[in-house]
């Protein structure tokens, strides 16, 4: 692991151009005095409505519980936490506008949430001008810590390539030999399938083929037929939200799981609830699972049950961890000024609900354990739950700095 921050090629190019004075260097927005001492404002432009509203709502609940509990303890550095939560409906144009309002009008310099990767990619180039720090809690796109990396961006969550890597590591010891992949036809799907293919080839497995479906596909029968015909032992799925639910429901109706093992890049409770028993036997990586046995996680789950009467879902846990990273950084920096906070966050290490999280300096990715879970029936739960079946050390699931690829 190299210890120095390496900005992206595009960022370097821009610096070069700026040097040639052909690009306007926008005036950087400095913090006002009140923002230096008043409440600590954390802005969350979230997709609370629309197709990914379910994810945005999880992030909202995760952040809100954190703020409530931390404020009861006196906030951070004695300053109360104020959450600015706004709905973007998942539209990057709205997201940029909302984030800009948080920065320009409400003097907020800390951003998180930002549900969609397309929104995050639209926001990150603005961070320097806004003098703001953005810590991702759910963006999966590997590029954010690779070619699109900017100095003020950090990722506390497990990225798409990391999730895929966990699945791949798990498969090295599994009997399954022949694989097919089905991904959503956008960056996340393509990145993850690509990583999976490389990993499968590396571990001497057979990668038979792949297919991509556009988001919003309602009928998965052509894809299910393709998977059945491929003769694969297992299919790797990179699906989310409605598409994931539609695929799992229809795959079960076709009795696909009896013939082909379903592996998935991401397991979350919302999907399990939406498809019920159709998720049984599903194996996949988990960004966060409430069933992971760790003192801090058990404490968090208990808190959550007390507050909401249910167990926390994937992005509720991810958001909680992200807030903990923010907290640690602010405490270490002694404030929220971007330059200091950035320096503090680089190389910071905390103990969180998922175990140790270390934000490495080189690409601002949070190095953390990878989890493999299997969806099973468990007494005490009326829907299936994900059970942790393997964990992998962070060093093995995190890509080489500034890339989406892995060494071995």
């Amino acid at each position: 692991m190299s210890g120095h921050f390496r900005p992206s090629r595009r960022a370097m190019l821009k610096v070069g151009l700026a040097g040639a004075a052909t690009v306007a260097s926008p005036a950087i927005l400095r913090l006002t005095a009140s923002a230096q001492s008043g409440p600590i404002k954390i802005g969350l432009p979230l997709a609370l409505t629309g197709a990914l509203g379910s994810v945005g709502q999880q992030q909202k609940r995760g952040a809100e519980l954190y703020a409530k509990i931390q404020n009861a303890k006196g906030g951070i550095l004695g300053r109360p936490i104020e959450l600015l939560i706004e709905d973007t409906a998942g539209n990057p144009a709205n997201c940029v506008r909302k984030a800009q309002e948080m920065v320009e009008r409400r003097d907020c310099r800390l951003l998180t949430g930002i549900t969609l990767s397309s929104e995050a990619l639209a926001v990150v180039p603005k961070l320097a001008e806004w003098d703001s720090i953005f810590i991702s809690s759910d963006n999966g796109d590997g590029r954010l810590t690779a070619e699109s990396l900017v100095p003020n961006f950090f990722r506390a969550n497990i990225s798409g390539p990391m999730g895929t890597r966990a699945v791949s590591l798990y498969l090295r010891t599994a009997k399954l030999q022949k694989f097919y992949a089905l991904g959503l036809d956008y960056a996340w799907g393509h990145n993850s399938v690509q990583v999976f293919e490389q990993e499968a080839v590396k571990s001497k497995k057979e990668f038979i083929g792949k297919v991509f479906a556009p988001t919003g596909t309602k009928d998965y029968s052509p894809y299910i037929t393709k998977i059945r015909q491929s003769g694969a032992d297992a299919v790797f799925l990179v699906l989310q939200g409605d598409d994931n639910n539609a695929f799992l429901s229809q795959a079960q109706q076709y009795r696909l799981p009896e013939k082909v093992k379903l592996l998935t890049e991401i397991v979350d409770l919302a999907s399990i609830r939406a498809v019920g028993d159709a998720s049984l036997g599903l194996i996949g990586s988990s960004r966060y699972s409430f069933t992971y046995d760790h003192p801090l996680n058990n404490e968090f789950v208990a808190l959550w049950k007390k507050e909401h009467g249910t167990v926390p879902d994937t992005f509720e846990g991810e958001q909680w961890q992200c807030m903990k990273v923010f907290e640690a950084g602010i405490v270490k920096a002694g404030g929220i000024e971007a330059a200091k906070l950035r320096a503090a966050l680089e190389d910071i290490e905390i103990e969180s609900v998922k175990g140790k999280v270390h934000i490495r300096k080189c690409d601002h990715q949070g190095v953390q354990q990878g989890f493999m879970v299997e969806v099973v029936k468990k007494p005490g739960f009326d829907t299936p739950v994900p059970e942790v079946i393997a964990t992998f050390p962070g060093d093995s699931t995190t890509p080489t700095c500034n890339t989406m690829t892995f060494k071995d």
């Binding site: 409505t49 556009p214 596909t217 309602k218 052509p222 409605d242 539609a246 429901s249 939406a274």
Partner: protein, 289 residues
């Protein structure tokens, strides 16, 4: 899997998808034929159907009640909307309908989210429809056969209704010439309310039938409204038979297209529409537009 088995299962798949598309399209085309308005809220009502079906199903534990009840309730809602708001607008130009139904789509969409939440909800098919049958030794979901059969039954029923029943006759007469029908003593207002309700009910039927395939979710409405438009326009605005043909065409093109050329999945529907409209600007069975 033998080629024959593959083609057979794709054929039935396409029929089942066409059925879902048909429920959407036929409601839209009936409404357009009669009132010359484009109902932008059609997708939202489809979604409402799925959620109402979910609640009826969980409350009664009876799938068949949900299947019958959701279209009825959504149909009544449609009638009430026509009665209270649309009725005031027939003398106005098309903008008014465009905006009022756009508004309705937003209102219904958000009301669904507020009532049922953001998470997708599981709608299970009843046990009798949950199994598989073997088509040439390949498992095929019974539920899809049921969809295809329902599609055929509903299409025949609507056709017979339009051809044979008195109300059907009045609807056809009014579609062809509202003034004339009015002069002959047809209560156009009543017919309009009925047809708007029937159209909304059919959309809801599509929603409640689609739910076991795609779950009931907030994202349901977004894509289907465009599908419905495309079907209706390919068949010819206002033509019952046209909407049937449009649904079959799109159903088959999507199932076969997504299998054989998945890279073009996003474009198929529009390429078909483009081709049809360039050759026949009024749609396959439409009057020259």
């Amino acid at each position: 899997m033998s080629t024959l088995a593959l083609l057979l299962s794709q054929f039935v798949d396409a029929l089942s998808q066409s059925a879902l598309l048909f429920f959407l399209g036929v409601g839209l085309t009936l409404i357009f034929g009669l009132m010359r308005i484009v109902n932008f809220a059609h997708g939202a009502l489809y979604m409402l159907g799925a959620f109402v079906g979910y609640s009826l199903g969980t409350w009664s534990g009876n799938y068949w009640l949900a299947l019958a009840g959701a279209p009825l309730l959504v149909g009544l809602f449609g009638t009430a909307f026509e009665f209270s708001i649309l009725r005031r607008l027939y003398r106005r130009d098309a903008h008014a309908f465009l905006m009022v139904t756009f508004g309705l789509a937003l209102v219904v969409g958000e009301a669904v989210r507020l009532t049922w939440g953001s998470d997708a909800l599981k709608v299970a098919a009843p046990p009798v429809l949950s199994g598989v049958v073997f088509l040439l030794d390949e498992p095929f979901p019974v539920y899809r056969l049921f969809l295809a059969a329902t599609g055929i039954v509903v299409a025949v029923a609507i056709w017979q209704f339009l051809e044979r029943s008195r109300l059907g006759l009045l609807i056809r007469a009014t579609s062809q010439n509202a003034d004339m029908a009015n002069a002959l003593g047809v209560d156009i207002k009543l017919i309009r309310s009925c047809v708007f309700g029937i159209g909304c009910g059919l959309a809801a039927l599509g929603g409640v039938l689609a739910a076991p395939l795609v779950t009931a979710s907030n994202g349901m409405a977004a894509t289907v409204i465009i599908d419905a438009f495309v079907i209706v326009i390919i068949g010819g605005m206002g033509s019952f038979l046209g909407s049937l043909i449009g649904a079959l065409l799109i159903g088959f093109v999507q199932v076969f297209g997504n299998y054989y050329a998945p890279d073009f999945a996003l474009a198929f529907m529009y390429l078909v529409m483009l081709a049809v409209l360039v050759v026949r600007p009024g749609g396959l069975l439409g009057k020259e537009a």
